[in-house]
């Protein structure tokens, strides 16, 4: 398994190289000028050109790429044109809120989806099961930005229970930190709850049809124990895959929710970097997200082996 992990990690390098070249070229191809953004719309062209010179933007593209790569290999992703701070610091500052939101969203999605999915499988075909099917359908198809705005109107503007938008660090102010994350987690989590509920229901249904479940039931194992201890555990693989993929996409793609709820996360950092033509941040964030995405995929693969002893990870074949 160790060799397998090493091989998978090594395979990341060419992927990252390709990603870095694509992102660098996209930054070059996109119209816009970071020096102009810094100096403002009315700055004269001569002043903009001078700043471009001092920012190194007039160097040939290949020269800038090689210089950036040589720094990146040493862990230096450059300095943001707009934020005036190292890119790694900017990523660090923005990753915390995204991570906290992703964890809360997944926790909320799991708290909803695992019992509902399991019980829907248990009471298959009942009114409850049909109700859950309806919930998952709405959850999957309802646009998340509409849900976000509905939640804001109900819980913030009408009831005034929760703040409209913003972010407080939950580590320094846990109660307020949590309050600011609840609405974004609800709006983001509903779609994942629906997705995971479907997966749980389908997987548990498969397991419930197995002979060993019948055998356990005939031995007098209680229904609840049978459902949650036996069936759910054995239905774990597809569920783990779904959770892993959901988590990875939450870490990289909560752009809409971060924008509506004004959370200074990695998604809004990426969008802002595009708008501001802040190329070092854009390149740094995309590289970082690629590593996160591939790393989580690898982690899910490794977890298969831990959860299901039948899965063996070797350096040649994944069974």
């Amino acid at each position: 398994m160790f060799t397998y992990t090493l091989r998978r990690a090594g395979a990341l390098i060419p992927v990252l190289l390709v990603v870095s070249i694509v992102v660098f070229s996209l930054g070059w191809l996109a119209p816009g000028d970071p020096a102009r953004i810094v100096l403002g719309p009315e700055a004269l062209e001569a002043d903009v050109q001078k700043l471009r010179d001092s920012m190194g933007l007039n160097e040939p593209l290949w020269h800038r790429y090689l210089e950036w790569m040589s720094h990146a290999f040493r862990g230096d992703l450059g300095t943001s044109y707009f934020l005036n701070m190292p890119v790694s610091t900017a990523i660090g500052q923005h990753f915390g809120p995204t991570m906290q939101l992703a964890v809360l969203t997944i926790v909320y999605a799991l708290v909803i989806s695992v019992p509902l999915g399991t019980l829907a499988a248990r009471w298959r075909g009942s009114a409850f099961d049909q109700g859950i099917a309806g919930f998952t359908l709405i959850g999957l198809t309802f646009p998340s930005f509409v849900l976000s705005l509905l939640l804001v109107i109900i819980f913030s503007v009408w009831l005034r229970w929760l703040p409209v938008a913003g972010y407080r660090d939950p580590f320094s102010d846990p109660w307020n930190g949590l309050r600011y994350l609840i609405l974004p987690a609800l709006s983001l989590g509903t779609i994942y709850a629906a997705l995971i509920t479907r997966t749980v229901r389908a997987s548990v249904l498969d397991v419930l049809k197995s002979e060993y479940v019948d055998a356990a039931r005939s031995r007098g194992v209680s229904e609840n124990r049978l459902l949650f201890a036996h069936a759910l555990r054995n239905a774990g693989l597809p569920i783990i895959t779904m959770i892993g993929l959901s988590f990875a996409s939450l870490l990289s793609g909560a752009v809409v929710a971060e924008s509506i709820f004004n959370i200074p996360g990695i998604g809004s950092l990426l969008v802002n970097a595009i708008e501001r033509r802040d190329y070092p941040v854009l390149q740094g964030v995309v590289l970082f997200l690629t590593i996160i995405y591939l790393g989580l995929n690898l982690l899910v693969d490794l977890l298969y082996g831990v959860i299901d002893p039948r899965v063996r990870l070797t350096d040649s074949v994944v069974k």
Binding site: A30, P31, G32, D33, R36, I37, V38, L39, G40, P41, E42, A43, L44, E45, A46, D47, K50, L51, S54, M55, F82, L83, N84, M85, A90, Q93, H94, L119, R122, W123, F128, L149, V152, I153, F155, S156, L159, R160, W161, L162, P163, V164, A165, G166, Y167, R179, E223, N224, L227, S259, I260, F261, N262, P264, S268, L269, N272, E275, R276, R277
Partner: protein, 519 residues
């Protein structure tokens, strides 16, 4: 007895959870943060260095931290600032400023003439106003509290140019910071202003606190002049790019001020008893011609046709929705800039004469060639006015293709003189007509005319306000005869405050230190 999962138990648990949630949060509605003004601000500026950046939001935020040598009262008269007093030599070329005593920077260092000289030299080097008004000027320190400005020729607007403006305030920072700084924005933000910066979390918030050792200017507050001591202890500027989030946050009581607001939310906000609506920071909207590209608009008759044919009221209604937020104005300066009043061209403005316009276009020899009109979709007023302008131009028989871009691409496209024929320009107001960006020959597509350059050159050297006014009249005459761009009008940007904010003043934009809170 072991717990059994039943549908009834599930329903019970759900009801219990909802009840618990309502009890938990019902008492947590927003406790107004005592002594703190919370502002939802539309965009984070690239820096707070007004010497180098022309972004207007930089100015609005920086003037809470930094101060200028002189200020402007509510009637736009020059008043003391960091300079307690000044004298002007008989030939109008030498200004001697005496600094206010006891003023300290936020780092505890006293303000000296060396700080002022270093700051204003840098501002003179990089800012548009500095370069335009103080070309060839020299700054010198005399002792610790006197600053001497020597001008090559008298300038009618030397003092006004040292006061706060819409963009690029000539702010004073410690000499060591100003001397070490280049054309890149400074990151050490140390001023003498009413607020001290305590924390700037990127893309999130700017936190400021009332400066304990603040030495205020004399007299009652009026405009940026007079007593500037804030009546509240903390100022938090939250960067909230989403317009609807700013509006919701204001309605829920989370923000005390939201700026700017979407024009289409005005009627809804106006109906609320909980909010007050205001306007700040006007901008001029022009339809510009590209003088850098050969084409139909090199012919004056074609420019005149557009000037006569457009119906501006509907363009401005599309741009700013409510008449409270727009005004028709064919003059170069804002209507509010009363020192630049001119009656040139008052009678035949906005005739919307389609027939005459079509005849003129025919005379100019328009051959049906497609014309490109560019605008930015990032600013609703620019995009919406472009849509109506395009329709009206098509009614005049012109074939117009509208290209709208995000702001960065728009600026890039604007610089490419072959890429467009017409442009929607949103220009910020300037203290003097000589600084108007759309009259600058170096601005992309800007007018190239010897007569204009002659008037501007004389204007820059005008020694008195009388001479300046006479030249302004000539400039207006030239503008309305040459038509370098079609003036559409001016728009204001709406903001709203909660009832907690009892009063707040505006000079160009919001002055947060003037806010009076209910608690």
């Amino acid at each position: 007895m072991a717990f059994k999962f039943t549908r009834r138990s599930l329903l019970g648990a759900s009801v219990l959870a909802l009840a618990a949630a309502s009890l938990t949060f019902s008492n947590t509605c927003f406790a107004e943060e005592e002594n703190t003004l919370v502002v939802a601000f539309g965009a984070q500026p690239p820096s707070l260095d007004t010497h180098v950046t022309t972004v207007s939001t930089t100015n609005v935020l920086a003037r809470n931290i930094f101060e200028t040598l002189v200020t402007l009262d509510a009637s736009m008269n020059v008043q003391p600032g960091l300079a307690q007093s000044w004298s002007v030599s008989e030939d109008g070329r030498t200004y001697r400023f005496t600094l206010r005593s006891g003023v300290k920077f936020h780092n505890g260092e006293p303000l000296t003439s060396k700080d002022v000289v270093a700051s204003l030299k840098r501002w003179q080097t990089y800012s548009l106003t500095g370069k335009s008004v103080f070309e060839g000027a020299n700054w010198a320190a005399e002792g610790a509290d006197t600053v001497v400005l020597n001008l090559p020729v008298p300038r009618f607007n030397a003092l006004e140019s040292l006061a706060p403006a819409y963009t690029q305030d000539p702010v004073i920072m410690p000499g060591v910071i100003a001397e070490a700084a280049t054309d890149k924005p400074v990151t050490k933000l140390v001023g003498t202003g009413p607020f001290r910066l305590t924390n700037w979390e990127a893309d999130r918030a700017l936190e400021l606190e009332r400066y304990a050792d603040y030495t205020s200017f004399d007299g009652t507050q009026s405009g940026t002049a007079g007593d500037r001591t804030p009546a509240f202890a903390k100022l938090r500027i939250e960067f909230v790019p989403d317009e609807s989030t700013r509006t919701f946050g204001l309605s829920s009581g989370e923000y005390d001020i939201a700026t700017p607001l979407a024009y289409d939310s005005i009627s809804e906000l106006r109906s609320s008893d909980e909010l007050n609506l205001g306007s700040a920071s006007s901008a001029m909207i022009n339809l510009g011609f590209n003088f850098g590209k050969p084409g139909i608009f090199q012919d004056k008759r074609a420019r005149e046709a557009i000037n006569l044919g457009l119906e501006r009221e509907s363009v401005l209604t599309a741009a700013a929705v409510d008449p409270q937020f727009f005004r028709l104005n064919n003059h170069l300066m804002l209507l509010a800039q009363k020192q630049w009043a001119a009656d040139v061209g008052k009678t035949d403005f906005n005739p919307a004469d389609v027939t005459k316009a079509m005849n003129l276009l025919q005379e100019a020899g328009y051959d049906g060639k497609e014309l490109v009109l560019i605008t930015s979709r990032d600013y609703a007023e620019m995009y919406n006015s472009a849509i109506v302008v395009q329709q009206q131009l098509q009614r005049l028989g012109l074939k117009v293709k509208l290209e709208s871009y995000d702001w960065s691409t728009y600026v890039k496209a604007r610089a490419d003189r072959q890429a467009w024929d017409l442009i929607i320009l949103e220009a910020s107001p300037k203290p003097a007509p000589t600084q108007l960006i759309f009259l600058n020959k170096d601005f992309p597509g800007g007018p190239q005319d010897a007569k204009l350059e002659d008037i501007l050159a004389k204007f820059r050297k005008a020694g008195t306000m009388e001479q300046a006014n006479e030249l302004y009249r000539k400039l207006e005459e030239w503008n309305q005869s040459y038509i370098p761009s079609v003036r559409l009008g001016e728009v204001d940007f709406p903001f709203a405050t909660s009832k907690r904010v009892q009063a707040i003043d505006v000079q160009y934009d919001l002055m947060f230190w003037t806010a009076r809170l209910r608690d």
